[in-house]
Structures are given as C-alpha cells and as structure tokens.
Amino acid sequence: MNTTPAIGHNNVPKMTARDVHVYYGQTHAIKGVSIDVSSEHVTAFIGPSGCGKSTFLRCLNRMNDTVDSARVEGRIELDGQDIYAPAMDVVQLRARVGMVFQKPNPFPKSIYENVAYGPRIHGLARSKADMDAVVESALRRAGLWDEVKDRLETSGTAMSGGQQQRLCIARAIAVDPEVILMDEPCSALDPIATARIEELIDELRGRYAIVIVTHNMQQAARVSQKTAFFHLGTLVEYDDTPAIFTNPQQTRTKDYITGRYG
C-alpha cells in the first residue's frame, strides 16, 4: 500500500512504521517517520533532547495511549499487523513488545514477584514449578540469577540501581516478548552498571528485536548495529551504525555526531 521504500530495509522487518505523525494537543511532535526494525539487530535511536525519539519509541507499544492529549497518525505494524487497528488488543501488544524505562522501576514487591507478575497475568505458567522455571530463566538471561538466587524474597527496591534495571529487563523478558523497547535504560546508572547493561543488551541481541533510545552516542556505537538519527520530530538518517558514525550522509547527522549541537 505504501510506495515509499523504507530506509534501512535489508531483511524481513519485525516492526514497520509508515508516515507516523504524533500530536500532543497542538504540538506536532513526530512528523512523518517511516522506519523498519529488524529482529536481527539492536536498533539505536539517537538525537538531541526533545527530538521525539522517546515519543516515537512509546508509539511502538502504544504507551502513548495513556497520554490523553496524544494523537497518533500513520501506520505501525508488528509482523504485518496494524497495532493501532481496533482489533489489536493493547494488553497483548504490550506483552509482545516489552519496555524498559529510563528510571529503574521495579514493583515494591519481592524480586521473585517482580519477575513472576507478567507471566502470571498472561497465564504463562501452569504450576508453581513452571513459574519457578520461568523466573529463573528470565533472571539468568538478565544476568542477575547468581546475584539474587539466594534472596528472591527480598524487595526489588532494595537492590542497587544497576541491579534494579537488570531486574526490570528480566521482568520484561519473563513474558517472552518479541521486541524490547529501552528508553534510555542507562541514563540513571553509573558507568560500571552501564557497562553491565550494555553487555546484557549484546547477549540478548538476535533473540529479541531490541530498540534502544540513548543520549549517549558512544553507547549507540557500542551496542547497536543500526542507528536512527532523529531531529525536530523527523527521522533524518537511518543506516548501519558504523556508516552513521563514520560516513553520515546528512549534514545535520554529521553536525550532531561531531558535537556541533545536541
């Protein structure tokens, strides 16, 4: 239906966005973004503050629905299915497209309950033993199991910031999503915890389609294979990460990554 070729399209995309516009009341926050997200890669969204990268990210699992004044136009598909279609169940969509937030936000419950909550509400575990296995595998994949296996009953909020963020990743993984959206997941963490999360993202690559919004260009260069540069609500450039950082095609991209603004 859409004749515009998507930028960066090189295999079957997991998610596609076509001519997406977002309005907050009178403000036109996203102006016609089209992009394909592959499940093979980690895709980074970079750009100066207020460029709309987080707004766009929150369109991918309809978290913008909670903002009364927000209005989304255009078409976003997950495996070819329009996620804004009336038939799409938003609860199921968010199970398939998980999200990790800027500030670690574990529930004020035990570590176990944090991870088990998602599988429980979606009915993913039949028995206690099943649930134990789901929780353990999610914590293992988030690289947290060895640190917390002896204190699963302690509160998730009693951990360090980096551990809390990995717990949030484990919580997202536990519902077995297809896509994980990360909204500046390291901006509240120290460099060591950041390195740990970056390693984790690398380990998760290929298993889930990962989209990460970051302020930090070095981080984008380290963890992603594809990078999209947003500016003033438009997608300026989308390409393989090395190409964006070594040979940007657009002047604005070049100016941003060389530190001219942002």
Partner: protein, 437 residues
C-alpha cells in the same frame, strides 16, 4: 580602561564599603534577634495555652469520671425461702426448674432481706433483687438456705460512699437529705458497705437509675453503626477515588465532581441527618433509631473524607509504577487494583480511620434519625433501636439526677480512649507502611 586609572574622587557615585560594625548595623542585628525571640516566646506561649486547656479538660473529666467505674454494694444475708419466693421446691427440681425460678417473687424476698438493715432498709437499689435472681438461677440448690450477698445500693448512698457530697454544707444546699446521710453512717458503722469495679457500667444499657445505667448498650450501638458505616463508606469511597484518579475523563465534568466532593466534606453534619430523616426514614421506611440508618447517614457524611484522602494517596503513587505494569501488559484494571490501590492503601486506611473516628464522635445527624432514644436493652442487631456513645453522653449530661454526673464523665473517658486508640492505629499504619520512592 581609563576609569580604573582615575582617582576615587572622580567617581562620587561609587558605593561606600559597607561598615558591618556600625552602630546602625548593630541595632538592626539586635532588632532581628529580638523579633526572633519574641516569635519563639509567642509560639511556645500559644502551645502552652492549648496544652493547658487540654490538660484542664482531661483533668476535670478524669476527676469527675473515674468513680463512675466503681459502685457501692451493701452486704445482706439472704434466706432463699421458697414460701416468700412463691415457688414449690419440687417443681424447681423438675425439668422446668429454671423457668419456675425466673418467675419467682424476688422483690418480696429482697424486701424481707432488707429488713435486717434496720433503719437503713430503704437504701438498696430498686433493682437489687436482680442480684438475688442471678445468684439463685446460677445455683438452684441455694433454695432454702442462707447466703451472704453484696447488692447495689441507691445512687445517693453510692455517692455518699464516694465522698461526692460536702457534708459540712447546710442541708438545703448540699443536695442530700439528713435521712440518707444517717442511713449511710449506719451502714458504714456496721461495716456493710464495699466499693467494687462497676461491671454494670460496662455491660448494661441505659437506665433511669444511675447505679444501674451502663454504656454497654451505647458501645454496642456505636459498633453496629460504625460497621454499617465502614461497609458502605470504604468501598464507595475507594472506588470513587480510584475512578476519579485513574479513569475519569479530564474535563468540565471531572472538575464539577471534584468541587462537589470537596464541598460535601464541608457540609454541616446536621444536614446529613435531615437527609437521613427525609429519605431513609420517611421515604424508604427503614427502622427508626436503628444503627442501620445511623450507619448509612454517617457513611454519607464521611465518604467525601475517604474520597479526598484516597485520591491524595493514589496521586502519591509514582507514575513509574503504572508505566511498569502497563509496559508488561497489565490491563488498566490490573494496574489500579494490583498496583496503585495496594500501594496507596496505607494512606487510604489513615483517611478512613480518621473518617470513622469522626463518625464515632458524631451526634447531630443521629439526633434527627431518632438515635436519641432511651434504650434499656443492648441492641440485638442493626435494625433494632439503639443509641451511640456520644449520644449517651448527651443524654446523661441532660439528666437531673446527681448520679449521672460521674456517669457522663466516665462515658466521655470511654469515648476518648476509643478515639485515641483509633487514631493511634491510624498513625501506626501510616508509619509502618509508608513508602518512599
């Protein structure tokens, strides 16, 4: 750059360096300290005045009221004579023994036993015979034998024993007759009086005789009323608050609802009583004077308080928790009832307990729906006539009999203890479950 080289005299508008040690400056500093000292003194003074009033209130209530928990009893030897009681010993031993004993003439037996008090035979309480009945029905083998019993005395003798009268005052102003004083002296001289804990005060309902009146009925009435209040106001209040905070569309309608709720919280409580009278009694035909109607009326009164407290508590739950739950696919209902409301619960509970405490102390609306009734039985259920603690205080304070003065203060003590206990629970809950993010 020429100005730098210019002599100081060439720039007369240049500010003089501040002399921090000048006389003016010292005076300003002294004035500032003085103002602060005065302010502290005034603050401490205000607090002292408030504490003084409170201490005076508590002191007078405890001074007048603690004897309300005691009562004076007289010793009498009772011969449980079957003939006086008008029962046949054979039927007492039969299968209907208890029923026969319940119908026996204890008043005659009491009058007979009272004669041993000689000149003071008229000092026993009108309901002293109840003690005889209770004793005999508990142990029917006493029939035909003599037993020493302690029975309550009249309120006047009770107050004399507690030293409530100034006996040096002239007889016309001291409020008690010479006859009663001499009766009391005689009983004391015989060693027939004792003072014990007044179980009747805790267990009984209201009575025309001060020595028999108790707050048990009013306390149970308060309990039933508050149960109805909680069962109605808590779910309604929390659901309203959750809907207003989480689901209500923002706009004109939400603003009007919010304004109405805030105004409702400030409506004088007697208006709710009028509503209860007009709607629940006259229109819906619910039973007058009952804890059911009282509870519903008070529920309407405190619901705005619960809604406001719950909304504040729900607002205090950080949005990141909602995001976290929504982000893994919780439905809006799951977000509210599995995350937001449980986290807000300590605040909701605090607001609820404070609302309930207010309902416990409320009299005005209950006056209008007939809970001012003189009820001599402990209420049997939420539809039976009842009164409540503060109403009992009001009724007794209105009574002309001297014996009710200490009962009034004693009832106030009970009410205050319950209120303090409830507020303590509220504070405990707040501190115990308070979360910081």
């Amino acid at each position: 750059m020429a100005t730098i080289a210019a002599p100081p005299a060439a720039v007369p508008q240049e500010r003089q360096p501040t002399d921090w040690a000048s006389r003016d400056m010292q005076a300003r500093i002294a004035a500032r300290y003085r103002a602060e000292r005065n302010f502290r003194r005034m603050g401490a003074g205000a607090l002292l005045v408030a504490a003084g009033f409170l201490a005076f209130l508590l002191f007078t209530i405890v001074r007048d009221g603690w004897t309300g928990f005691l009562r004076t009893e007289a010793r009498v030897e009772v011969m449980f004579d079957a003939a006086t009681l008008g029962v046949d010993p054979a039927t007492v031993r039969g299968p209907d023994g208890q029923a026969v004993l319940a119908r026996a003439d204890y008043i005659a037996l009491m009058n007979q036993a009272a004669e041993q008090l000689g000149p003071a035979s008229d000092t026993l309480s009108d309901a002293a015979w109840l003690a005889l009945r209770d004793r005999l029905m508990a142990d029917p083998t006493l029939l035909g034998r003599t037993e020493v019993l302690w029975v309550p005395v009249r309120s006047g003798i009770d107050l004399l024993a507690k030293g409530k009268y100034d006996l040096d005052a002239p007889v016309e102003s001291r409020g008690i007759s010479d006859r009663e004083v001499s009766d009391w002296r005689w009983l004391e001289g015989e060693g027939r009086l004792r003072t014990v804990f007044n179980q009747a005060f805790i267990g009984n309902a209201d009575s025309t005789e001060p020595e028999l009146a108790g707050i048990g009925g009013a306390a149970l009435g308060s309990l039933f009323t508050l149960l109805v209040t909680i069962l109605i106001a808590f779910p309604l209040g929390v659901l309203s608050a959750a809907w207003l905070e989480e689901f209500a569309p923002r706009g004109r309608l939400a603003e009007i609802i919010e304004l109405s709720i805030n105004n409702l919280a400030a409506v004088p409580s007697i208006i709710f009583g009028l509503l209860g009278l007009a709607f629940f009694l006259n229109y819906a035909g619910l039973p007058r004077s009952s804890p059911l109607v009282g509870g519903i009326t008070l529920a309407l009164m405190i619901m705005p308080v619960i809604v406001i407290a719950s909304r504040v508590a729900i607002q205090a739950v950080p949005p990141s928790i909602r995001d976290a739950a929504l982000g893994i696919g919780a439905s809006p209902i799951q977000v509210v009832f599995q995350h937001v409301v449980p986290l807000a619960l300590p605040g909701i509970m605090t607001g609820t307990i404070i609302g309930i405490a207010r309902a416990l102390g409320e009299t005005a609306p209950l006056l209008l729906i007939g809970m001012r009734a003189f009820v001599t039985d402990t209420p049997q259920g939420i539809a039976a006539p009842a009164t409540v603690l503060p109403m009992q205080v009001f009724l007794w304070s209105d009574d002309v009999q001297r014996g009710f003065v200490e009962k009034t203060s004693a009832a106030i003590i009970v009410l205050l203890i319950i209120l303090i206990a409830m507020n303590s629970v509220a504070i405990y809950l707040r501190n115990r479950f308070e979360r910081r993010w």
